[in-house]
Amino acid sequence: MTAAVFAISVALLAFEILLLRFFSIQQFSHFAYAVISIAMLGGGASGTALVLLRERVRGRERPAFAWTAGAFVALLVACPVAAHRLPFEPTALVWSGKAWGTLLLVALVLALPFCAGTAAVILAMLARPARTPALYAANLAGSGGGALVALALLSARPPWTPRVSPFKALPQIEAYPEARRLGERWSPLGWVVAVGTPAFHHAPGLSLAYRAGLPRQVAILVDGELAGGATTRAANAAGGAFLDWLPTAAAYRVVQPGRVLVIGSGPGLEVSIALAHGASRVVAVELNPDVIALTRQVLDSASDVYRDPRVALVIGDARSVAARTPERFDLIVLTPTEAFGTAAAGLHALAEDYLSTVQALRTYLGLLVPGGMLATTRWVRAPPRDDVKIILTAGAALRAAGDTSPGAHLVCLRTWATATVLVRPRGFTPDDLSRLRAFAASRLLDADWLAGPPPGDAPVFNRVEQPMAREAALASARGPDSVTAFAARYAFDVRPPTDDRPYFGHFIRLGTLRRLLALGAASWLPFAEWGYVAVLATLLQGALVAAILMVVPAAVLSARGSRAGAPLRVIAAYFGAIGLGYLLVEMAFIQQLQLLLGHPVYAVTAAVAGFLIFSGAGSLWSARLRAGWKSAAVIAALIVVELALGPVAVRGAQPLGLAARAAIGIALLAPPALLMGMPFPAGVRALTTDRPGALAWAWAVNGFASVIAASLATLIAVEWGWRWVLLSGAACYSAAALAGGGMRASPATGRALAEGPSGP
């Protein structure tokens, strides 16, 4: 039975991760929260179902286990197929009531395997109560193994063709005339596709004054979203004139184009710009090797910038590369993480972006030679958001580097569509500024800030209602208090992102959300800042469903079960707190590992597998150690220690290779994960002797606490930072320790909890 529980757990977690990837390829990435909730919902519902069927199952746990396990295998195959056939179109949620019905149906169908799988695990524990620690350990270790299995599966091409949402770039570009898919690659980092069509053009922020043509480009897409355009050789020779009419070209009016570092080089547009301006060496950092491989595959060798002897390609996480490189640069070009593909849509509002935080910019500034410069370009939207945020972030990074007059070291240039910020710690000479002015005039750019406010009679090319970029630069120049006051007044969240709150793309403020919704959500929200709303909706729905499904079994239990043993509310407090606490802490570690490992897929796999495996070991151990509720108190204390230790360790480990970083990350999470495996089996074992009727109730409460935990963790992180997520986790475990103490009021439960389960 232990082996069966292990196998079921492997399948459950692998299914969850594959479902996650599947949703982000076919739809958009914010459905990740929906998948986590679906899994947790299925698990929690199984607890409820077992409460209701308790009497019928009693004494027949073993055959019930066999049946449920069989059903799980069947559902695992049938449900995804059925869900795939449902005509679900998320964008229709905006205008169609029917779409909400379909969404609910898809969620319910996909929750079934989770429900059956979890039910089988609970039944196994009901059938063999004495073996609970071993079974729980098998459950956790199996789930950890499932994460690794999923990672292996993600490297292969799936057996079906993904049905990508028509609102993503891939199907749209493939509908262009003469479009041809020139190649594709699968890896856990994403599904990369190259599409060639003469109608594809990619030149974000191209000057309005540019009158000539564009070279042929090949679209490079990751998970169906545009990552950039691979540009043919014409761009680098005489036909590459357009490169001098893109916003970054301004940077080359100031610095001598010697050594250039391009962060997030992707299909190579910024590398081409650097080469076209005479760079002697370009270090190009790109996280996804498949993007580079496909770019090089579709370009002839003459067009392949990565073949140029001046270009050094580094595959890896830019933060890690920046932490270890001994090289110094004249210019560092930071491309937006989403490479102008979807960054403007707020689709990645809740994706951690560690490349544009204050700490990141501070690190880049440390890589500059004296007189070196950092340049980055963002979309300009109305009302202004991205440009304002990057200016405030650059100002904060300068101050963090000890600069007392950051205003003198910033330049902000704006086209009709983009804003470019130049950061130069040494400042700008009058000559530099006059060259920039000339560049701006010839390109129809506006200088919102030229190491100071522009003169009142400066020509205006692109008229905006509010010159917010200037206001932001002014606040940066005045000091941190001005920045805080400015951000607090602003209608959008433009606080400089930090490593603790790494959400560059997040702009919605809770305070303004209400007003935005009042303006008519249907008119723009879905395509604008959808991610945040999706998480909020997931949290509210999860909480609602959780409440309903928890009240039902509670009513059933109190109506018929024996009232001996600990009161239900104390049991709920204990299992709810450890359920919530576990996920909050795990999510916080996922985030820390993302900074350390550089990609969410690595972080999720390492954290999920690490947590489950170590918690499994902790669960096994709990029987021998006789650890009871007191372990919860120790966990709370340990989390507080990690809170201080984590950032230091992450910073120290950053220069190391990926494997070493992963090892350090797992070493960080091992101690809390080990202990966190203990309170649950301790509680379960106590209940089996004291109040077995409440066992499924405990599972339901624990599961449903987890339903809301993922979205709750994200909301706390976006508003206040991950430190507070960890602290909330510590608070949960403190509460669990108190509730565990409360259970001692009931002699049997109290004894079991205090002493830990007596091993088999």
């Binding site: 005339p177 109608a199 109305a382 009302p383 009709w416 569509a417 129809l444 917010m468 303006l519």
Partner: protein, 237 residues
Amino acid sequence: MRRATLVLAGFGLIVAAPRAPAQGPRGRDRMAMVAEQIAGRGVRDTATLRAMRTVPRHEFVPAALSDEAYGDHPLPIGFGQTISQPYIVGYMTELLGLGPRSRVLEIGAGSGYQAAILAEIAGEVYTVEIIGALATSAEERLRRLGYGRVQVRRGDGFEGWKDAAPFDAIIVTAAAGFVPPPLVEQLKPGGRLVIPVGSVYGAQNLVLVGKARDGSLTPRTLLPVRFVPLVRTRQIR
């Protein structure tokens, strides 16, 4: 829920303004749409309002979504394309400053709805659509509804429509991140070009590029009306 609101809004209008002529099928829906969403949000140009009261929007949406045609939101028309929210159509049309003798180029015909609105106002309307199936269906639909004067062509909007240039106005319905240089060339001095900013999905605001008599360009970022109350209530200094 939303449908109920829409019906109620329409009902209120009928009670309040019984004189508004309801033309043809769904005329009342159309009157309500213009009153609530277009005029109600500050579009003043009489030619634009008249055009939007006239063109049967429900003919331009997939049959299954016909009920929703006059709702305050975009609708999918296949191929990942949408028919824009009525207000956006009205707002962009007004910005173009068209007269009966204007010659207009549209990039991105989609359903053909915007082209039909333009045809109600302007003298000559040219529209380019990159997706073949959409170009064909838009052309067929425009002809069937009496807008056969609209010239439809399948092709890459990047190149504009050189043979028919220059234009008094150019309207780009999909965001590209840059204005294709040929479009700037094909705009008459004194003409206007309207384009959304951002990536294909991220279009959140519009830019109106004017071309002065001397050929110089005057881009102007426009704050969508939906944001105005937001900015007003929380004063940004």
